[in-house]
């Protein structure tokens, strides 16, 4: 029989205001095995932990139940506390009487009753707990960063500077990401390329960084400290070791009709291409779908003009398998598709563009060489309208429920830059709210209004109608002046919502990292662990976790790097001891458990067993506890109940069921 101590936390008034904590402690003493019960202001505090430790020593406690907040919050705190008092850390169970009780119920009597039942279930479970010992697993001192935008680059640089090897896997032919498409950055207006390119170069030159561009993560197995990842290096058709990056092939390539991804389809690129001038690596790829050689077998011009002999039409996709201790996801974002927003005429008029397209138009290396002009006729606009919140803050299925966060600021930036460079152009911004939290952000927005004369109108646009004269009729409203506004514009710029890169769902599944309904990766704790995924060893960097601007992305990237470094710095990791275990006397050797094990942790061996004096060789399931992650799939598929899960055993769960239904 266990000697159990029950400790009921007030959590200030968080619990005590709705749950009669004294009553819970009092009722605990009536439970089997309970020899000590008390309540205290803050169990997680130093003093609270000390009380548990004292009670263990004074009353020879063998099991502890803490009635407090969620075990996801403080289970570890209490485990460590009892360990210091000489008790096995797995002899602790937490009854969640805050998140699952005091915070959701108002009636004191009802909440107290429930808290007592939750306490009983935890006592029933701890009565059956057994001391568990964690195993050890090694840590591969290498990190993988998925995504080569500013988030991925920054994370990789920080990890590499700490002395660890890092690989960056980037899907497109060059690193750089969305930031490389941006012309100027707010709130300082410095040129995006000027601050990004040095970082790209540094990453490329860093002895600890290996960059795989035009590559994708194909498969992930293993677990924290010991992931095995297959990376598909897509055939570039250009030998990276030979290419000098002279660019002649791109000039001579006769197939020049593919919309440029980098310029958001505003102009075309050749079939053999580098996405942009500062691309890293500065080695082109052949787009096999567009290449005449691949389509018809004829042409081969690039090969003829290449002095280095780098063109290799026979190159095949290559699978690189590498081991990693930590994985950082930095998959970034894209703009949402606007096909559901007919009222803004995006697909009807070339002069209705997204903000990212405007970035390319304003960029000196862009399709218009940096001249502000209409994409339909090349004429300079006189009247420009910006529409905010297109697809953001929507509760219908056309857009996203969240605020995209960056649009207010980049719209102010665009408006300001246009007014600065083309003072004769009128700029009108239709907004719902202008959101500018951030250092020097509101000052920036006010400058657009006060110094540059940008016309901000509180109100939304209902419809944009292309006119026969080539102009765009914008029908909006000014909610302050209470009047409808009908305005002819030359260009309309839509601040389209941003969404996580669609590939992230596939990646999250491979990593078993959780993801929300908007495809943003979930953090382990919204406030306290914002750069870690709940899946151990997976870290989050940049917009894949939620909308953010460049400064925020860079700081989060650094934070993710630190977390990854913290992991890589360890030589060994303690493994979760809550693993499956097969009772050799009950095991039939039927293989059903091995069939459902996602980790290949179950093998079979012919073993001599002594079944109550009867000796025989039997085929017995063996669990490799280093591989087992403790999901429990095997325990249910086992018909004889031989397979059980330590820490969540059949008897423990049934005891909880019984206690709740009592």
């Amino acid at each position: 029989m266990q000697r159990i101590g029950v400790f009921v936390c007030h959590c200030g008034s968080n619990i005590a205001a709705t749950v009669d904590v004294k009553k819970v402690a009092e009722m605990a003493l009536m439970e089997p095995g309970v020899v000590h019960a008390e309540d205290y202001q803050y169990m997680c505090s130093e003093a609270g932990q000390a009380r548990i430790q004292e009670a263990i020593k004074e009353k020879n406690l063998t099991g502890i139940v803490v009635c407090s907040c969620s075990p996801r919050m403080h289970e570890n705190t209490f485990r460590k506390a009892v360990e210091r008092a000489g008790l096995n850390p797995y002899m602790v169970e937490v009854a969640n009487i805050r998140e699952h009780c005091s915070w959701i119920h108002k009636d004191i009597e009802e909440a107290t009753k429930k808290a007592v039942i939750l306490m009983r279930a935890a006592v029933a479970k701890v009565n059956l707990n057994t001391p568990l010992k964690p195993g050890e697993s090694r840590v591969t001192k290498r990190a993988l960063v998925i995504g080569g935008g500013i988030a991925g680059i920054q994370t990789a640089l920080d990890i590499a500077d700490a002395g660890y090897k890092v690989d960056i896997v980037e899907k497109t032919p060059s690193i750089g990401g969305r930031m490389s498409q941006v012309d100027k950055t707010f709130p300082t207006l410095d040129c995006s390329a000027c601050i990004l390119t040095p970082k790209m170069v540094e990453a490329n030159a860093h002895e600890n960084i290996t960059i795989y561009t035009y590559s994708e993560v194909e498969n992930v197995s293993g677990f924290v400290g010991d992931f095995t990842v297959d990376i598909r290096k897509k055939a570039r058709s250009v030998d990276m070791t030979k290419c000098t990056g002279c660019g002649v092939c791109q000039e001579k390539c006769p197939s020049k009709k593919t919309p440029s991804e980098f310029n958001r389809g505003l102009n075309n690129r050749s079939a053999i291409y580098t996405p942009f001038a500062q691309a890293i690596p500065n080695v082109p790829v052949i787009d096999r779908e567009a290449c005449i050689k691949f389509k018809t077998g004829k042409c081969g011009l690039c090969s003829k003009v290449c002095q280095a002999g780098a063109i290799d039409y026979d190159q095949k996709d290559e699978i690189i398998t590498e081991k990693y201790g930590a994985i950082v996801v930095a998959t970034g974002f894209d703009m949402i598709k606007l096909d559901k927003y007919d009222e803004y005429a995006y697909s009807q008029s070339k002069d209705v563009i997204t903000s990212l397209e405007l970035e390319r138009i304003m960029n000196a290396a862009g399709p218009t060489k940096g001249h502000l002009e209409r994409m339909s006729d090349g004429k300079p606009p006189k009247e420009m309208v910006f529409i905010q919140c297109v697809g953001s803050r929507c509760s219908d299925d056309r857009g996203k429920s969240y605020c995209s966060k960056i649009c207010c600021m980049y719209t102010a930036k665009h408006a300001m830059l246009i007014r600065d460079k083309y003072p004769d152009v009128n700029v009108t911004v239709f907004y719902i709210d202008v959101r500018t939290p951030g250092k020097n952000f509101d000052e920036f927005y006010r400058r657009a209004v006060e110094d540059y004369g940008v016309n901000y109108i509180k109100g939304q646009v209902g419809k944009v109608i292309p006119q026969s004269n080539g102009k765009l009729l914008v029908r909006g409203v000014d909610l302050i002046d209470q009047k409808q506004i009908v305005k002819e514009a030359d260009m309309v710029v839509l601040a389209a919502a941003i969404e996580p890169n669609p590939d992230v769902r596939k990646i999250a599944t491979m990593l078993t990292a959780s993801i929300d309904t908007n495809n943003f990766l979930t953090e382990a704790h919204a406030k306290l662990r914002p750069v870690e995924s709940p899946t151990a060893g997976i870290f989050l960097s940049g917009v894949c976790q939620g909308p953010k601007d460049i400064p925020e992305t860079v700081s989060q990237a650094g934070a993710a790097a630190v977390k990854a470094i913290g992991l890589l710095a360890k030589d060994k990791l303690m493994t979760n001891p809550c693993t499956a275990h097969s009772d050799e006397l009950l095991c039939n050797g039927c293989s059903n458990c091995a069939n459902v094990c996602p980790y290949g942790a179950i093998s079979y061996e012919d073993k001599e067993v002594n079944d109550h004096g009867k000796r025989e060789v039997r085929r017995i399931a063996q669990v490799n506890s280093a591989l087992c992650q403790g999901c429990g799939a095997c325990t249910v598929t086992c018909p004889s109940g031989a397979m059980d899960l330590q820490g969540f055993s059949n008897r423990q769960i049934l005891a909880e069921v019984d206690a709740i239904c009592r």
Binding site: R393, D396, G459, Q460, K463, R475, V477, Q484, I485
Partner: protein, 129 residues
Amino acid sequence: MSTEKKQAEQIKEISGVNPLKCMKCGKCSASCPSYNEMDIKPHQFVSYVQNEDIESLVNSKSLWKCLSCFACVERCPRDVKPGKLIDAARQIVVRQKGQDYLLADEIPELLDPDVPQQLLVSAFRRYRR
């Protein structure tokens, strides 16, 4: 419950709209073809219901100026759909039995020759219900 409160609840029930979801973007008013004729603007319908000022709403010109074109319903990003609110407010008036809000004889006078007959008939059928 006061009559106004009851009516406000009734409007929410008939329309199926939760006015608290409105973020006051004004897209409804921007879309409305009858905006200039209205005394209470489409985006204000929401706050009138929220503030339970149904008296003003049912006595407004807007009630009968709304064409039920549903542009606002179509485009509302927050699922608030002011067109449905005003439609519900109309229902409230229609349901007040015995109270003549508009006599059939008064209609020709109000007629705009540009309004298609079909629209008139269908609207008449709709609001006479």
